[in-house]
Symmetry: C2
Subunit: 215 residues, 2 copies
Amino acid sequence: MTLSPTPRSTIRRGSKRAATDRADLHAVLDAALVCHLAVVVDDAPLVLPTGYGRDGDTLYLHGSTGARSLREAARGVPVCVAVTLLDGVVYARSVFDHSMNYRAAVVHGTAVPVTDPDAKAHALRVLTEHIAPGSWDYARQPTPKELAATSVLALDLAEASVKIRSGPPGDEEDDVAANARWAGVLPLRTSWGAAESDPALVGDWDVPPHVVNRT
Amino acid sequence: MTLSPTPRSTIRRGSKRAATDRADLHAVLDAALVCHLAVVVDDAPLVLPTGYGRDGDTLYLHGSTGARSLREAARGVPVCVAVTLLDGVVYARSVFDHSMNYRAAVVHGTAVPVTDPDAKAHALRVLTEHIAPGSWDYARQPTPKELAATSVLALDLAEASVKIRSGPPGDEEDDVAANARWAGVLPLRTSWGAAESDPALVGDWDVPPHVVNRT
């Protein structure tokens, strides 16, 4: 299934950077940790960072960090979700052609609250395993009270677009021919540091494998 | 000047994580590279990643990546801008108390196109120096044609909020007392890789200091 089935999810500007494969969308969503969730509140936009997880073509979002409109819209509310990974800064020969290397997904749709207890537990497992793989089985699972206190939204990934920029600068021919300035890419890397054990732990603890071996 | 002067920029959920100092806002904005800019288009939210730069209490945004509504609204358009830095994943003893360490700024306001040529050149310098410090003086500066082809928006930082979470998990007392599971934080680090020179460069080039020494 290809992406961009509607006008608003069809990339016009920089269309050479548009990815059209659903696998590209999944790869971007699986590689990032946080999304930016936008809603309309009192005719104005509101955007907030929140955790998410993907199961097939459904995105699960932590709803409780969103606006009141999100929590109250039982039948769903129009949302837009962006997930962005920055891969580097592109130093061009000209200021104008400076850019960034990135992978960016944007999803449009209607977010629907997940209320059925079994469906909610499933969504929370997907969310938890995205943010902290291995934690669902290792940590204490939610009590019914905790489950009730957690708000989860589901968003279909049908209407989405992906833009990817990679590689060297795209300077003007004259600037390249002049060969008067350095140009290139400074890559941006993300990595895990050493795990910091909670000072409230009593006794000696090894950091468990699902944390220490996280890639 | 403190933050949160309006109801919509006053943090209610998790208010213990709200920072109230304008310096915190500036620090978050200065530490990140990309923001997420949300607007309302045809009654639906749209959020896109874009570059920005800060000068005092003005945020300059690359407008051309935004929606048509942004480019056409000469008198300004309501926007919401989020800037998020992820600092780590918080592994709690319970699934429910899993969290992330982060610094997040949200700005509400009206984005106004910068059209005066001198003001636009200043805004572009601020944007360029945020994304690629040193590039404004090193790279070829914009021609009048390039300047005209670039769209820049200005957003006042008056109405903004900052949330910061740091430190160990906030588990329930019973879970801590049980001491039955490891808990802690896995920090997330961002760093620059080795600069990759453009293959189109002719001859031997040293990577210039403003790139190789970027912190």
